[in-house]
């Protein structure tokens, strides 16, 4: 096991930089998830940690060892690839034992460790088969077996679940979490799926265009996003962003279409510094619902209803703003109906409309 220290890491292909000075300290035994849209550099970052891509600038440390120029095999890591990279001409047992064999382990040790790993992953009955005879989920388990059998300091996962269907993905997510709890090995995991990131990670690193946006616990990422990008990336349905104006006296906000809302105390503090200016207000769907006393009622019109069983999502219009809210399935919403909405403005986020950075996050 080992901590991973990334200091000011830069990657450029020729004159084109793709990672612009990322710093990231992953603790020993931590499950860190790198997440972001395609092209954000998350896979490149992972491959640099693995040693499959060269380092243009900065430092990568595994434990207390600087590994910048070490070949992958000397970094004591194991990696699970997106396509699993199982050798089609080798049996499952040979695939799992490959790393041990290459490092010159004796046949008895290889056999024992392969059996152990197969036991943990419940693939003992598949050891004699070829990868071509396995289902997607089974291949995924074999790929994980190949990684755990070597007992490396760090596991690297490169979008390991993206080739599975939704049901299997949930199952394998639990399996990966179990492996982490059992071995306690440091894991760096790349995905573009925010649900995977939220459910698996101790801490999530959100990348955008080769820059690190935020690196924090799932809870903090969700509740205190540092930018509109992070706020919009995490959470489903996504946060509503509303182009609003802070009242000159700082006592409220005006929405497009002339709807004036009084700001409760926490929001009043957040907009104190931008009185009279345009802001981007962020409000999660769970903070838009039917008016139930407390704050003032805001008139709205239902545009679209999406019943999901446990809850009902609805697109509503408030003044000139369209926003998604979460409602109880019993609320009986109909498209076209005029309703009284309750907005939990004390939970609203306020962002700078030009930079997208948060002005102050709610606690």
């Amino acid at each position: 096991m080992a901590a991973i220290g990334i200091e000011n890491l830069v990657k450029a292909y020729g004159a084109t930089p793709v990672i612009h000075g990322v710093s990231l300290a992953v603790r020993d035994g931590e499950f860190a998830v790198l997440v972001g849209p395609s092209g954000c550099g998350k896979s490149t970052l992972l491959r640099m940690i693995a040693g499959l891509e060269s380092v243009t600038g900065g430092e990568i440390r595994i434990g207390d060892r600087l590994v910048n120029d070490l070949p992958p095999r000397e970094r004591d890591i194991a990696m699970v690839f997106q396509d699993y990279a199982l050798y089609p001409h080798k049996s499952v047992a040979e695939n799992i034992g490959f790393g041990l064999k290459m490092r010159g382990a004796d046949a008895a040790t290889i056999d024992r460790k392969v059996q152990e790993a197969a036991q943990i992953l419940q693939i003992g009955h598949l050891l004699g088969r070829k990868p071509g005879q396995l289902s997607g989920g089974q291949r995924q388990r074999v790929a994980m077996g190949r990684a755990i059998v070597r007992e490396p300091k760090v596991f690297l996962f490169d979008e390991p679940l993206s080739n599975l269907d939704a049901h299997l993905r949930a199952e394998m997510r639990a399996e990966i979490k179990k492996v982490h709890q059992r071995f306690g090995t440091t894991i760096i995991y790349v995905t573009h799926d925010q649900v995977e990131a939220m459910t698996l990670a101790d801490r999530i690193a959100i990348l955008r265009g080769g820059h690190l946006e935020q690196f924090d616990t799932p809870d903090t990422i969700y509740r205190r996003p540092v930018s509109t990008f992070v706020a919009g990336f995490v959470g489903s349905p996504a946060m509503n962003f509303i182009a609003a104006t802070a009242a000159p006296d700082g006592a409220g906000v005006r929405l497009p279409g002339g709807v004036d809302l009084a700001a409760p105390e926490p929001l009043r503090q957040r907009i104190a510094g931008v009185a009279g200016k345009a802001v981007t207000m962020g409000l999660r769907p769970e903070h838009i619902g039917l008016h139930a006393g407390g704050g003032p009622a805001v008139p709205g019109r239902v545009l679209l209803v999406e019943p999901l069983g446990a809850e009902t999502l609805a697109l509503v219009r408030i003044g000139d703003v369209e926003a998604t809210g979460r409602f109880s399935p019993e609320s009986g919403l109909r498209p076209g109906a005029d309703i009284a909405l309750g907005l939990q403005l004390d939970r609203a986020h306020v962002f700078d409309p030009d930079t997208g950075r948060t002005l102050t996050a709610p606690a």
Partner: protein, 302 residues
């Protein structure tokens, strides 16, 4: 599947007729240029047909021509030379071709010199390659002897010493054939996903281990294809020894195909030559079917 014969609907029957009609031109062409000549070759091999002895006519002689072949020392020598060419040039071309393919598969920034080097020998006509190597090894002007002289050694009789002539011809054949082998193997190499090598790299495999554990087993089907093609063309070896030594010295480098050519074109003994050609055809067919059976039985294939 039902065992009851499926009755065709009128539409299906008309579709089938159209299908046959569209295949007919290709079938007729193949019949004219492949099936008929082979059938006539087999017929001729059972007759006496010597263009220098027209008064003898074209009588049926049964297996006389085949019996004559088994007692013909020059024929047996030509067979032996052909076998030697196969034994030396098939593995030789595959090993050199594999090396070239691995080289060409490297991520060079400038790809054209490698590609040109790979394609040029393949694109050259066989006779032309033979002539090039003949000039290389020519006694007085050739580059091989020029180098030997430059290094202070005595020049060698490259093309007139039986053993050296055989070796230089093998060298020319390997040079010429390895580029085709390399093209086949390069196509095979490019189907191996890069992540296999990355996974092996992370798992601690050295370059040699990656070659042995991944490249070679995954290239097996392509190597078999290359072996089959190379063996068939090696059995038919003609142009390069024809251009380099014309079978000489004596008939020390003469192949089966060259002897058949001499028998029919130079000696005008069509009947006997046909019998020899049929024998060569049988040998090729037997070796090819052996290869095919082996690949089909191979459990490593997917």
């Amino acid at each position: 599947m039902s065992t009851i014969k499926h009755r065709l609907t009128p539409l299906e029957r008309s579709e089938r007729r159209l299908g046959f009609a569209m295949l007919a031109p290709a079938f007729l062409l193949l019949a004219a240029v492949v099936v008929y000549p082979i059938a006539d070759l087999i017929r001729a091999s059972f007759t006496f047909l010597h263009l220098a002895q027209p008064w003898m006519g074209n009588p049926f002689v049964g297996f006389d021509n085949y019996a004559k072949a088994l007692g013909d020392e020059r024929f047996l020598e030509a067979v032996w030379h052909t076998v030697l060419y196969v034994i030396v040039t098939v593995p030789g071309a595959v090993v050199v071709g594999l090396g070239l393919a691995l080289l060409a598969n490297k991520p060079f920034t400038i790809k054209w010199p490698v590609r040109l080097g790979l394609l040029l020998p393949w694109a050259l006509p066989l006779v032309f390659s033979g002539l090039i190597f003949r000039w290389f090894f020519e006694y007085n002007q050739g580059i091989a002897n020029a180098i030997l002289r430059g290094l202070g050694f005595a020049p060698l009789n490259w093309l007139t010493d039986p053993t050296l002539a055989f070796l230089t011809i093998c060298l020319a054949i390997i040079w010429k054939a390895s580029s085709f082998v390399a093209l086949v193997l390069l196509a095979g190499l490019q189907t191996i996903p890069k992540s296999y090598y990355e996974a092996a790299e992370v798992d601690g495999a050295s370059a040699w281990q990656q070659f042995r554990e991944i490249t070679l087993p995954m290239l097996r089907p392509a190597i078999f294809v290359a072996l089959i093609f190379r063996t068939i063309t090696a059995i038919q070896t003609f142009d390069i020894p024809y251009a380099m030594t014309n079978g000489g010295p004596g008939n020390a480098t003469e192949t089966l195909a060259m002897y058949i050519h001499k028998t029919t074109v130079d000696f005008l003994d069509i009947g006997y030559g046909s019998a020899l050609a049929v024998l060569m055809f049988i040998v090729s067919a037997v070796i090819t079917s052996g290869y095919l059976r082996y690949t089909r039985r191979d459990p490593g294939r997917h």
